[in-house]
Amino acid sequence: MPGSASTTHRPEGLIQRLRSAAADGGEAKLKVLRDLKNQIIGNRTKKLSYIKLGAVPFVVSILSSSSFSSDSILVQCAATIGSFACGVDSGVKAVLDAGAFVHLVNLLSHSNEKVVDAGARALKMIYQSKVAPKYDFFQEKNMEFLTSLLDKNNENLTALGASIITHSCETNDEQKILGDAGTLKRLINLLEGTTSQRDASLEAFATIIKQNPQVISEFVGPENGRTWGTLIELTKDKYPRTRLLACTCLILIKNAAPSYLQSVGIRTKLILILLELIDDSGQVGDEALFTLSSFIADEESLQKSAFEANTIDRLCDHMQKESLQPKRLEGMLMILANLCSNLECSRSVLLESPKTISIITDALSHATVDVRVAACMCLKNISRSVKYLSAGHFMTEAVIIPLIQLLDDTSTSVQVAALRTISNLVIDFTMHKSLFVQNGGVKQLVELSKSMDSRVRLNAVWALRNLMFLVDSRCKEGIFLELRALSLTSLVSDPSACVQEHALGLICNLVNGSLDSIDYVFTEDALLLNAVGRQLRNASKPEVLIQGMYVLCNVASGKEFQKEAVMHQILPDSSNGDTQSIMVTMLQSEVAQLRTAAVWTIVNLTIPTGAGALARVVKLRNAGIVSQLKNMANDPCLDVKLRVRTALGQSMIFGDFST
């Protein structure tokens, strides 16, 4: 028969004992503190329950009133407070609210080393939480205190010093002041200490060098042989966390100062170490995933090394065998995304594993925002392959439908990530774009192209532009009816130049293809054509002008009246006080692509078979465009030079009016 639990060990009972402990003798205090500590150690639920019952202020009051009591009580108080603060933000908050901080700091100067240790450990727990107060490195006395901690011959005090740095150092100025105060050198010395000293120092070291090439060049780098050698050595340490942190430091050095870590051997070794650490099922494994992902993110050669180290197979193995925690799944998807950002071989390997592809597409509907974003990124990068886009690998219901659903996601980051993926997938060359249209994709894109968020607007327009590329006439009509000329006109003059660029690219694709397509820019009194002309007169960004000029070029490849409409757009409008044709400005641009687009437009306008060709040539000549072309006969860009030759040849068929 089970006996009844002792009431003194129930939370309420313990609280009662704590309440009266202040007046009790030392032994009673010690016992209740021990009982409390034993209950909450490693038990999050109990910690939260005691915090709710107000236990923390009682413990702090015992600490504050115990300056003359036994060292054991001080140790127990500090240990209990540290335990409340360990891994629970609300615990840290309760400890800080109860005013424990100053009492714990006082313990650091106690004569009994055990008391000092307990105080340092508790403060370290506090500094491991993001709710801990930020340490002000710019106050001289604070820096002195921090330096004194790092100089102590006490493992807990040095680890506390390192934790303060890891928690509070955020800006370049803070990194600099810590570097100048010799902190890095002290941390480097600590790398030869105990495991906890090493790990705490590595973390603090990483914080100080992060994205700061100046600090790195002064204190680290291969020329500082000892540090470099120690870090390399620590990548082989027997403790996984130490190996991970050493890798992190080396990668941070490489990211901030790419000239370091050039050795292919070390780079490959780091990838292999991180891959091995991924097998760790705890926090180290999770962090290793993100460290590897950031390591390879921006460098194709590193992606290649990771590919050659069978990263994809290893990750696929994990993904297929285990049910993964969201953080782990996100990390794996990010690595796969980075491996596929440039390498066709990575995309091929993944696409040959239908099981993994299905895990990735399933992750599009995952409950966690970051996983959904990572799944989108992964699919986006896999679909950068024109080879697989041409094979129609992605335009399937299994991929397209969940992506379209994500356009309604409550998170803007997910919406943007989905739009970016869709903008690749809809390039699809297999003429299956209708699948996207039939599933309501266009309606959604058009809606999002009106978003107040410029990132959403940009990526929606981008997707519409790519969807419009080589689309069949029926789909084209459907997209245009949904979009309407008026909305497109406002996108052409959007406040964001990037949106303008893609809106013009969209119109360029709209009027490409069958001859009838050109009619779209003439609907509603040539609303779109006029908007394009206006943008060409007002915009300054070359990318916008290039797209706008190609719209005119495509329209100028149409019927006579369409060519005349283009002439109207490019010739100076005296009623507006224009004296120079925008065409002359474009032809004089320093950007070869813009000159090319402009010359192509003239080529189309001067094709001699047209009834109005002669009149157009005369107008172009009078506007100074032909003489500008003659100045470009030896243009440094071969493409421009060849088109100029064609345009001049065509205009001279009608005679050289200059003679």
Binding site: R384, V386, F429, F469, N512, L515, S557, G558, L638, D639
Partner: protein, 214 residues
Amino acid sequence: MPVRMVESPTPSTSSGANPGQTCLQPCSLLSVGQTFSGTQNVSSPQKEEAWRVNVRIQGCDLNHGYLCGTMEALNVPMADTPVVTFWEGEIVDTKNYTFFTNKWKATSEVDIDHWTKFPSFSPLLSQVEVDGGKSLDLSNYQYIFMRWKEQYFVNVGSDCGLTIAGFYYVCFSCVDGSINGYYYDPNSSPFQKLELKTTNEGRSGFSFSSYELQ
């Protein structure tokens, strides 16, 4: 006032530390979305025959000397429908690729035999014989040389009775967008000629389209 144009018919031989390491300049007629049509002569000693062919450029990455697209053969005798294949191209830019194929069963002799079929190749021959053209600067040359290798059938199964084992030696003219090519497959009739011209879908001029991958 007519002006004299500076002709640059012959590419220079680069000197210095990085010979022939310049990417080719983009050519708008060889950009994504551009289409070409013409014929491939598949005559054998027994029979004169030519297939109508359409080509569309789908991807272009000059930095990596990469081009890809589809090729549609229209009146293939043993097929009920036009046969579409996807091909990938190596652009001979002397940085990513030289005139020597070094694969696909093509020796340097086979390479030279095919390249010399193009008149625009003759100024390059002597240097190509030395180093495959590695030291040539082709960035301002009016012709772009490529190898196109079909990778898969797009609309029919690989059991359709046709082969894509060989590859094309291709010469593209930046001047007018015309394409000439020769198919090489040790098991097929030699020197099947591909002749394509840029198309304009009934337009009175040139039209362009584009996409941008993210």
